[in-house]
């Protein structure tokens, strides 16, 4: 094997390396640096070792308590919206027309919420839900339901969840619709001939054919909801109390509200690590699911 040695290739890699260094590695290292120190402003820093990390994982401290509580809220939030958006998205996709001009209409209507900037979504729902002037809030209160997302924790959660469902179910539905469209007609015809009920068709054909897009949908929705910041911040500001303070909101409070750069840096590293681990788990699951595909193809 004659390998051509060409050192000029380094010059081709160098620009990418420089960009990645400035955009990712240097900022990350800055955060790592902050996470080991404490500051009282005035650009003065003191060495603190792994102190912040110890506090972070200890619920009895202020920092640890806040972090773990917001993490718990965040996981609960992700679980709830997944439990609603995935089945709802499937139902929406199944009830969409398969051909004709109505397809385009449905697709446009579904895509609309996805096109709205996140802070605008927040603003829409913040006004929509207000008991004094909002259509939703005023109507609910007129019906005798005491609804106020500013003062009632349950109402705040309900508002944030309904908003997320409104904003993102379309994504799940569109992905599922794409999966459904890829099923050849022969499958439905065969199922008809085999006398399959509607439920049997869903279980035996549609769900198995959708499972890959569903996995992608779950991954995207989990990651996104785990990092959610803008919409709940605009609507509830994390309140009432801390009831809708998710990890990213807590992080911004510590970093920019209290200017505790060391604590915030430690928190963001752990936050980052959790996301990386979840990514890795999903990636492994997805590539393992992918291993079966080539085997099937190879056999075919």
């Amino acid at each position: 094997m004659d390998k051509t040695i060409n050192q000029k290739a380094w010059f081709l890699v160098l620009p990418v390396f420089a960009v990645v260094a400035f955009s990712a590695i240097l900022p990350l290292m800055t955060v790592v640096n902050y996470s080991m120190q404490d500051t009282f402003g005035n650009n003065q820093f003191f060495w603190n070792g792994v102190g912040w990390f110890k506090e972070l994982l200890d619920p009895s401290t202020d920092l640890g308590g806040r972090f773990l509580a917001s993490l718990g809220r965040n996981l609960l939030f992700s679980a709830i919206i997944l439990a609603i958006e995935v089945p709802l998205g499937i139902v929406v996709a199944l009830s969409m027309p398969r051909e004709g001009w109505t397809v385009a209409v449905c697709l446009v209507i579904l895509a609309l919420p996805l096109l709205i900037p996140w802070n605008v979504v927040g603003t829409i729902w913040q006004i929509f839900g207000r008991p004094d002037i909002g259509l939703l809030g005023y109507t609910l209160n007129s019906l005798g339901i005491d609804y106020n997302y500013v003062s009632n924790e349950f109402d705040a959660w309900a508002t944030v969840i309904v908003m997320d469902v409104w904003h993102w179910t379309s994504l799940v539905a569109l992905l599922c619709y794409a999966g459904l469209k890829s099923i050849p007609d022969a499958y439905y015809q065969a199922a008809q001939i085999d006398g399959a009920s509607r439920w049997a068709v869903f279980k035996a054909i549609q769900l198995p054919k959708m499972n890959r897009v569903l996995l992608i949908a779950v991954l995207l929705r989990f990651m996104d909801s785990f990092m959610i910041y803008t919409e709940p911040f605009v609507v509830t500001g994390g309140g009432p109390g801390n009831s809708t303070t998710f990890v990213s909101i807590e992080l911004v409070k510590i970093a920019l509200g209290q200017f505790d750069l060391g604590k915030a840096a430690a928190l963001s590293l752990v936050y980052n690590l959790i996301i990386l681990i979840v990514c890795w788990v999903f990636y492994t699951v997805m590539t393992n699911a992918g291993v079966e595909r080539p085997a099937k193809k190879g056999g075919a």
Binding site: A190, Q192, I193, G195, A196, A200, P208, K209, K296
Partner: protein, 361 residues
């Protein structure tokens, strides 16, 4: 198991108001007896799959009726028609095992469990799928998958008919032979009415007792393989079936004689009255036409090419502007390319506007 009657059945994808010539299936009336093995044979786009889908109920006819044992089932849905169908490409329920796939049509109809198991076992045995019964169906090869599709078609014992839509397209040639003879054996074993759609004449002729040849939305002939070979009712049947196909050339026919290129060919039957103004042709299969040394009584021709098919040799010859395929007797060789053509009068047919004219003996 049922007798199937098609009564003036026609279909147009453009709706009933479409011009008659554009119909994918032009009106057809025919009867298929219970327990028969039928093949619908024709080139792509001849309407054979449309006819199959009309019978299974996937497509609703624009006109006409379909009767199963005399009962009109035209308005019934596919589920209610009691039909099994196997498609061109394997349809497999991914999450199920081979056994569950086979049992699926029975379970959906509420067949008792013991009966389902017995029937699945029987079908798996017939199709050599028994070793795979517990395996996930997705991991199998294409031909194993198609066997499962076949199995799902055959598993119900009460079906009116089993329809096959070019089921062996994805199968290797080697396995095609095996599966085809398997199907034939299954037909005898299970006593089901089977209708098999294909564009491959070998498949049709080996599988079916009755072959229905379709062309341009019409049924041009329905008969046994021997009938199609010996007495094609339409010039299309003549050249579509047989390899090489039938020689069909324009001729002037009167009485017991046909004239081609100034040469007279004797006929076995008397063709006294032929439709006026019709295009008259004669057809003769290459098997009943052979080349010989040029002689005064023979139609003289020039050899253009010789196809050696192994078991037989056929010469491509030219007479004026017309081309013929003719059998070359073993050991026959030509010094120059000039030969004479010897016709077998018993197998020369006369066609008026592409349709067979029966002569008088």
């Amino acid at each position: 198991m049922a007798r199937i009657d098609l009564v003036d059945l026609a279909h147009s994808y453009g709706g009933n108001a479409a011009p008659p010539e554009s119909f994918a299936l032009k009106p057809v009336t025919m009867t298929w007896r219970q327990g028969g093995a039928y093949a619908l044979l024709g080139p792509s786009g001849c309407g054979k799959t449309t006819l199959l889908n009309l019978i299974s109920g996937i497509v609703t006819p624009s006109r006409g009726k379909i009767l199963f044992d005399g009962a009109d089932i035209t308005p019934l849905s596919t589920q209610k028609r009691n039909i099994a169908q196997v498609f061109q490409f394997p349809v497999i329920y991914d999450t199920m095992t081979v056994g569950q796939n086979l049992a699926f049509p029975l379970q959906n109809r509420g067949v008792p469990k013991a009966e389902v198991e017995a029937r699945v076992k029987q079908i798996a045995d017939l199709l050599d799928l028994t070793p795979y019964l517990g395996r996930k169906a997705t991991r199998l090869t294409a031909d194993a998958k198609q066997k499962i599709s076949l199995g799902r078609g055959l598993v119900r014992s009460d079906v009116a008919a089993v329809l096959f839509d070019e089921p062996l397209t994805v199968i290797d040639p080697e396995l095609k032979w095996q599966l085809r003879s398997k199907l034939k054996a299954l037909h005898r074993e299970l006593d089901l009415t089977m209708i098999y759609v294909t564009h491959d004449q070998t498949e049709a002729l080996t599988f079916a007792d009755t072959v229905v040849v379709m062309h341009d939305g019409r049924v041009v002939q329905s008969g046994t393989p021997a009938e199609l070979f010996d007495k094609p009712a339409h010039t299309f049947v003549g050249y579509f079936i047989g390899s090489p196909g039938m020689n069909i050339v324009p001729a002037a026919v009167s009485g017991h004689e046909a004239r081609v290129d100034g040469h007279t060919i004797g006929l076995h039957r008397n063709y006294g009255v032929l439709p006026a103004g019709a295009k008259i042709e004669i057809g003769v299969r290459p098997e009943f036409l052979h080349v010989a040394a040029p002689a005064s009584g023979l139609l003289s021709a020039t050899i253009e090419r010789i196809d050696d098919l192994g078991r037989a040799r056929f010469a491509r010859v030219r007479v004026g502007d017309e081309k013929f395929s003719a059998r070359m007797p073993p050991g026959f060789s030509v010094p120059d390319n000039m030969v004479g053509l010897v016709f077998d009068p018993a197998h020369v047919h006369v066609y008026a506007d592409s349709r067979l004219v029966e002569g008088v003996a």
